[in-house]
């Protein structure tokens, strides 16, 4: 049932991607751009006082009545959002392919994937890729200094895979031994520890970072639940049309 696999993954991924775009647009972009104001030094917040450092740039704009830079800036922003939103679709079609492949594997072992089960798979996907990885590598507002990116990527991938395997063992393992192995897989990356700096050097206000992290996790949760439900729906729909 190759068509069923790829078609349900694609449809579900596109729906989840669309939700991701809407949430990223409405909840995240403003905070990302605000974070960049601090990253580039346009704004600084030390001692509880907001300082805007781009006075010179403002005067330059006023002096030029053509206001060309602003139009260019808007065009740049449009392009930037368009690419980021395209990336949302790519990411969630990608996760969707892996999720539905997981459904297919579960069915080979004789486990039926209902809509409810599929939603739990989605939540597990969120937990593996954002909650468990977030313990060591929390979502970062642009401008947050962090350790070497390759080391962080390796830790992230390892943690996501071992957490996903752990959840699968908890859900489908037949003996207590599976639970023990699952726990070991879940804990190991955190016992090893994520690569991190031994100092703090963030330039953005902590309130902004806090808001950003909370929203990032909420967006991830919502989109993954939608992905799970949509994937489960199309997966079962494919099965129905085939048996009918």
């Amino acid at each position: 049932m190759t068509t069923r696999l790829f078609a349900s993954a694609l449809f579900a991924g596109l729906i989840a991607g669309l939700i991701a775009v809407l949430l990223q647009w409405s909840l995240m972009e403003k905070l990302i751009l605000e974070g960049e104001e601090y990253e580039t030094g346009n704004k600084s917040h030390f001692a509880g006082v907001l300082v805007i450092n781009d006075a010179e740039e403002e005067t330059a704009n006023i002096a030029d009545p053509a206001a060309e830079p602003e139009a260019e800036e808007n065009e740049g922003l449009f392009m930037r959002f368009a690419l980021a939103f395209f990336a949302d679709f790519v990411v969630f079609v990608g996760w969707s392919l892996m999720l539905v492949a997981g459904f297919a594997v579960a069915e080979r072992f004789g486990h039926r994937i209902s809509l409810q089960t599929a939603m739990l798979w989605g939540i597990a996907g969120f937990a593996a890729t954002q909650l468990m990885t977030g313990i060591g590598l929390p979502p970062e507002l642009p401008g947050t200094p962090a350790d070497d990116v390759e080391l962080r990527q390796i830790w992230w991938v390892t943690t996501a895979i071992s957490s996903a395997l752990a959840f699968a063992l908890f859900a489908y393992g037949r003996t207590p031994l599976f639970v023990v192995i699952g726990l070991a897989l879940l804990l190991a990356p955190h016992l090893i520890g994520a690569p991190r700096l031994d100092y703090y050097a963030g330039v953005a206000p902590p309130e902004l970072s806090g808001e950003y992290v909370a929203r990032s996790l909420a967006v991830g949760m919502i989109v993954w639940v939608v992905l799970g439900l949509a994937a489960g729906y199309f997966w079962n729909r494919g099965a129905d049309t085939r048996t009918a």
């Binding site: 049932m1 990302i32 980021a84 990336a87 990608g94 954002q130 990032s216």
Partner: protein, 58 residues
């Protein structure tokens, strides 16, 4: 006869290993480019998405 039919139905419900592995490979491929590739054009294009979804970024 009935048993035979059921067995056949069951066999077609199961997805073959090759499609499963291809789907995983395609998924990994997409996630790699959107979430991990450090070449400037991938990084810059997906920058805001990587931050939103908490992929390790620059």
């Amino acid at each position: 006869m009935k048993t035979l039919n059921q067995t056949r139905t069951h066999a077609t419900v199961d997805t073959g290993l090759l499609p499963i592995l291809s789907a995983i490979a395609a998924g990994v491929f997409l996630i790699y480019f959107a979430g991990f590739a450090q070449a400037a054009q991938y990084h810059d294009s997906a920058h805001d998405t990587r931050h939103t979804l908490a992929f390790p970024c620059h």
